[in-house]
């Protein structure tokens, strides 16, 4: 591209918002929220500004991995209805710009997090970015229908990083918070894949409904929902779970299992007849599920003084 073409091509000029969209703001909000909960429930204290700055670094790191994902996946994003409005397929941002932003912000976020808090947290953030950009995006996504199972780990690290910002270590409790999001990701995405099946098929992404059919996907959703309930239950035995988490756990897992059973009992004909009503509501419920669990942990941490007196602070 010549200098003249850059000046003369108004379509190429992206707004600031187009560059911001590369960071996947919606995914970033989940990262910020779960990292914040990890930071709040961790034992110990950290200066409020260091906490804010650390969360900002985690958000930027998560956003940077999103930009790297958009750079590498630009070819399939152009094909899929859900993603063709993204900045690269829309022609607003070039692939090279996305790569440069992704690498620069990744390095910035990791180094600044290390300087602001500690290098355990920074190392976890670096590993998260590597896992999402390389292990999931470049390797698993196009090669195995289990892509979302293993790749889900990338989205599950933020609460562990938030925890590490305060404590500087990795514990069973922070690992269980990781496990909660890790086990939640497969049923969440498979429900989406059931009603967005044709999108993944067109892009030749080996999602479970494409490779193994919808019957197998429905079975998988049910099994993973039950495993998720066990994982969420395990958190009850940690010091961070209190009465609010117990209530959220009981209500949300009951609803989630009922939703999974509904999906399991249906076939494609029934789903198409009501435009995937059960699958869509299960997908929406999955968002509320994660939000409720992490919110409950946060509320329990804030109310810990009250519940200490009641003797309920973790079952053990």
């Amino acid at each position: 591209m010549t200098d003249a073409s850059i000046i003369a091509d108004p379509d190429h000029d992206a707004d600031f918002g187009d560059f911001f969209a590369l960071l996947k703001p919606r995914v970033m909000s989940l990262v910020v929220f779960t990292a914040l909960v990890g930071l709040i429930v961790a034992p110990g204290t950290v200066h409020p500004f260091v906490a804010f700055f650390s969360i900002l670094c985690i958000a930027i790191g998560g956003g940077a991995s999103g930009a790297l994902n958009m750079w590498y996946d630009a070819d399939i994003d152009r094909v899929m209805k859900r993603t063709k409005g993204r900045p690269i397929p829309a022609g607003k941002v070039t692939e090279g710009e996305a790569l440069a932003i992704g690498i620069t912000l990744s390095a910035f976020a990791v180094i600044m997090l290390g300087l602001a808090s500690n290098w355990v947290a920074a190392g976890l953030l670096a590993f998260t970015i590597f896992f999402y950009a390389v292990v999931y995006t470049m390797w698993l996504k196009r090669s195995t229908p289990q892509n979302i199972v293993i790749g889900g780990a990338a989205g599950a690290f933020p609460p562990m990083i938030g925890w590490a910002v305060v404590t500087g270590d990795i514990t069973i409790t922070s690992t269980l918070m990781f496990a909660l999001t890790f086990m939640w990701t497969p049923p969440h995405f498979w429900a989406l894949a059931l009603f967005m099946n044709s999108d993944y098929d067109k892009a030749k992404v080996p999602m479970l409904p494409v490779t193994h059919g919808t019957r197998s996907t429905r079975n998988h959703i049910l099994v993973y929902t039950l495993l998720l309930a066990l994982t969420a239950g395990a958190l009850l035995f940690t010091p961070i779970a209190g009465l609010v988490y117990l209530v959220a756990f009981a209500v949300m897992n009951a609803l989630f299992i009922i939703g999974a059973v509904k999906i399991w009992r249906r076939d494609d004909a029934a789903s198409k007849a009501d435009n995937f009503k059960a699958e869509r509501s299960f997908f929406k419920l999955s968002l509320a599920y994660l939000f409720a669990h992490f919110s409950a942990l946060m509320i329990d941490a804030m109310l810990s003084g009250v519940f200490d007196g009641m003797g309920f602070k973790g079952l053990f």
Partner: protein, 54 residues
């Protein structure tokens, strides 16, 4: 009357230039604030103790 003529390209790129400017100003502010927090909360007692011993 302006002594230079604003190119049409500058108008098109105003949003990203202003956005980048704000990001850079925010970055400088954050680093300044982080420096103040680190300097005021870091315990420098061992250093002071060593100096006192000399």
């Amino acid at each position: 009357m302006a002594i230079t003529k604003l190119h049409e390209m500058h108008k098109r790129r105003k949003s990203r230039n202003v956005g980048l400017g704000l990001v850079l100003v925010t970055f400088v502010g954050l680093i300044l604030a982080l420096t103040v927090v680190k300097v005021t909360t870091t315990d420098l007692a061992p250093l002071g103790g060593a100096e006192a011993a000399e």
